[in-house]
Structure formats: structure tokens, C-alpha cells
């Protein structure tokens, strides 16, 4: 009988023990932001070419990177290699393009272009070693016909420039 009572008291002792759960909350604000500074436009200087060059009535897209922490991020920008929207295309499209630094907020960033790398043919990566703002341009030229210079089908064409801020 004592044992039983003890057992019961033990059970009570376990069930009345108190405890608490405390949350730790934190938020991280990005120290790198990417924004479109100038939207791009394709010009159509001839039937088989779409280009962003201003000489062909195009507009080169410009993206802006702002970093508040030096040596913490890469700017990675790719020029397009396909249309995101377009009429049905029966032939291949040849893509060319270039990514370049067009404007900086400090003369210390003037070496960004020379120090950049090309992980892929259409991608260029920049080490953002200085806090501040950098503007990048991405030119794009699309030629239709697989070298045969065929006319693009009429319609609306859209391509995408991908700009990313990647932590080092």
C-alpha cells in the first residue's frame, strides 16, 4: 500500500513540473539590392535581327546593384539566350550579347569590369569589393534563321536579363 502511494506521489510529482518555451526571433535585411534602372527594348533594323543597340532604335537595359557591405556579394548578370514570349518560331535563333559596367558610385569600382569572370558564355560575374552602387548594362542581339538570315515572324518578342546578387 505504501509503495502504491509512493508511486502515486511520484506520478503527481512528474505531472506538476513546470517548463517554458522561449522563441528567439531575428530578421536579416539584405545588404545587396538589385533594381531595374532602365528597361530594355529591341529594335528591328532588318527582318532577321532584333537588337538593343540604340543605333537600331533599341534600348540597352541597365540594372543597378546597391551594396552596403564590401567584399560580401557577387553581381551575376546574364544576357538572354531565348525568348520568354514570342510567336511560334520554326527556325533557330542565334544569340549574342555583352554585360558591362556602365556607371559606378566610386572610382574604386573602376576595376570591376577587368576583374570580372564569365562562369558561362552568357553570364558575367563581378565581385562587389566596394560598398556603393554599380550600374550594369546587358546588350542583346538575336538573329533568326540559323545563319540563313530568315525573317522573324511578326509578333511580340520578350527576352529576360537575369541579374542576381549572390553572397560570396
Amino acid at each position: 500500500m505504501k509503495k502504491l502511494l509512493l508511486t502515486i506521489s511520484l506520478i503527481f510529482g512528474i505531472t506538476t513540473a513546470s517548463y517554458a518555451v522561449t522563441n528567439i526571433v531575428g530578421s536579416v535585411e539584405s545588404r545587396c539590392t538589385v533594381n531595374t534602372d532602365t528597361a530594355g527594348t529591341y529594335g528591328n533594323p532588318n527582318a532577321y535581327t532584333l537588337t538593343t543597340l540604340p543605333a537600331s532604335s533599341g534600348q540597352v537595359p541597365i540594372v543597378r546593384f546597391d551594396v552596403s557591405l564590401a567584399d560580401a556579394y557577387f553581381a551575376q548578370i546574364s544576357y538572354p539566350t531565348s525568348f520568354s514570349t514570342s510567336p511560334s518560331l520554326g527556325d533557330s535563333v542565334t544569340w549574342t550579347g555583352a554585360v558591362a559596367v556602365v556607371q559606378t558610385s566610386s572610382s574604386s569600382m573602376s576595376g570591376y569590369q577587368a576583374a570580372s569572370t564569365t562562369p558561362t558564355a552568357s553570364m558575367r560575374q563581378y565581385a562587389l569589393t566596394v560598398a556603393g552602387t554599380t550600374w550594369f548594362s546587358a546588350t542583346s542581339v538575336a538573329t533568326y534563321g540559323g545563319g540563313q538570315n530568315k525573317a522573324f515572324p511578326s509578333g511580340s518578342y520578350t527576352a529576360v536579363v537575369v541579374a542576381e546578387c549572390i553572397a560570396q
Binding site: 556602365v102 556607371q103 558610385s105 566610386s106 572610382s107 569600382m109 569590369q113 552602387t133 550600374w135
Partner: protein
């Protein structure tokens, strides 16, 4: 911006630069043109009124390629009155092309209450009183010239009149002098006559006239008032009443 130096004036900034404007930052943009190996620095700055600079921001492009730069220089709401000329200066080999400098500002309209009649402390300005020049014809040289006497006969007559006046004044002075001499002689004669009379009186001895005596007695009081009472003279009272009425009548005419 004209060249690489500019003044902080309304035509340059495009807004009215009055008391109450504070500059809170500067955004500049330019393209440095240079060879990669050349040393080249570019400074954007604004002088400060009274000496020194409000800000100086220098970019060193030495050993690098020229890339278009856009930069923000934050400032702590500095009054426009303190801003002197702005400029972009360079050192080394290279040039600056296609430069733009923008000023960010805020406007406190009521810092000077006179900027707006709705501001506290606004004092209506006094109207400008026009200065009226009074024309005095007598000071007009043309009037003086026109009224100047040119007849020689008139000038001679005037001179004669002047001479006559002087002669008359001379005569008057002479008459006054002679009259003074005559008066002196008259006084002297009076004195001499008195002395003659006194001498005659001494000679005739008229003292007997002064010592004559009149015979007479004392005049005594003969009227006496015995008992009774003194009664006012009613005639006199009536007469005084009439005088009062007369006085009233006289005063009536002055009211």
C-alpha cells in the same frame, strides 16, 4: 552649369534661392576620360561664403579606366546663403565630360516671415512714398534770365534813386544833431532863469507872507443820537434794486 564652375543663383539652379532654402545633398555624375595608366583625380566641391568649402568630394581614377560615375554626397541641411561657387576641378592627365550636378533641397518658407503673408510674424510692407520734387520758378535759371533787367535807363534811374536816398539819410542825421544842440541850449537857459528868480527873492525878502496867522476856535460835535433804532433807508434800497436790474440788462447784451 557653365563650364566646370557655377554660381548658386536662381538662373543656374532653376529655383528661387531665398532665405529658407536648405541644401541636403548633392548628386553628381560625369564621365572621366583618361588613359588607364595616367594619374587623374576629379574633385566636386562648393565653396563656403567667408572661406573654406561646404564640401569637397574627390575621386582618384589613377591607374584605372574611366567609368561614368554617379555619386550622392549627403549634407546636413545647410542654408543656401552659405553656399559659394561650385566647381569640378581635376589634377593629372584626363578630362571630365558630360557632367551633371544636382542639389537636393528643402524649403522653409516661413523662416523669413516676409516670404508669405500667412507666416507668423509677417509685417505688411510700407508703401513706397514717391519723392516729389517741388518746382520753384524763382530758382529756374531761365526765369531768372527772362526777368533780368536789361534797360540801361532803368539801371541809371535806380542808381539815382539810390543816391537820393543816401542824401536824405545824411540830412536826417544832420537835423538830429542840430536838434540835440538846441535842446542843450534851452536847458541851459532854464537853469539861468531859475538862478535869477532866486536872487530876486532874496533881494525882496517875502518871508512875511509865510508867517501870517488866521484867528479861529475849535469846532465841536453838535449832533447826538438818543435811543431808538436805526431804520434802513428804503429809497436807497429801491435804488440799489434798480441798479441790480440795470446790471442784469447790461450783462444780457453780452450773452
Amino acid at each position: 552649369m557653365y563650364g566646370h564652375t557655377w554660381g548658386m543663383t536662381t538662373p543656374i539652379l532653376g529655383v528661387t534661392t531665398e532665405e529658407g532654402m536648405d541644401i541636403s545633398g548633392v548628386i553628381y555624375n560625369y564621365l572621366p576620360v583618361k588613359e588607364e595608366a595616367d594619374d587623374f583625380t576629379v574633385t566636386v566641391q562648393n565653396e563656403k561664403v567667408g572661406g573654406g568649402y561646404i564640401f569637397q568630394d574627390t575621386e582618384d581614377w589613377s591607374g584605372g579606366i574611366g567609368v561614368r560615375i554617379q555619386k550622392v554626397v549627403p549634407l546636413a541641411y545647410i542654408p543656401i546663403e552659405l553656399f559659394g561657387d561650385g566647381s569640378i576641378t581635376t589634377t593629372g592627365t584626363g578630362s571630365v565630360e558630360d557632367a551633371t550636378v544636382l542639389y537636393m533641397y528643402r524649403w522653409d518658407e516661413c523662416r523669413n516671415p516676409q516670404n508669405n503673408e500667412n507666416c507668423a510674424g509677417y509685417v505688411p510692407p510700407l508703401p513706397v512714398i514717391p519723392k516729389i520734387e517741388i518746382y520753384d520758378a524763382l530758382d529756374d535759371e531761365f526765369v531768372e534770365s527772362a526777368t533780368k533787367e536789361t534797360d540801361k535807363d532803368l539801371i541809371v534811374e535806380k542808381e539815382e534813386e539810390k543816391n537820393n536816398d543816401e542824401e536824405e539819410e545824411e540830412k536826417e542825421r544832420l537835423e538830429i544833431a542840430l536838434a540835440a544842440v538846441e535842446n542843450a541850449l534851452t536847458i541851459a537857459n532854464t537853469v539861468s532863469q531859475a538862478s535869477v528868480v532866486r536872487a530876486m527873492n532874496i533881494a525882496t525878502n517875502i518871508n512875511s507872507y509865510y508867517v501870517a496867522q488866521i484867528q479861529g476856535g475849535a469846532y465841536t460835535e453838535t449832533i447826538s443820537l438818543e435811543g431808538g433804532k436805526i431804520v434802513d433807508n428804503r429809497k436807497v434800497l429801491r435804488s440799489l434794486g434798480q441798479d441790480n436790474l440795470m446790471n442784469q440788462m447790461i450783462e444780457e447784451q453780452y450773452k
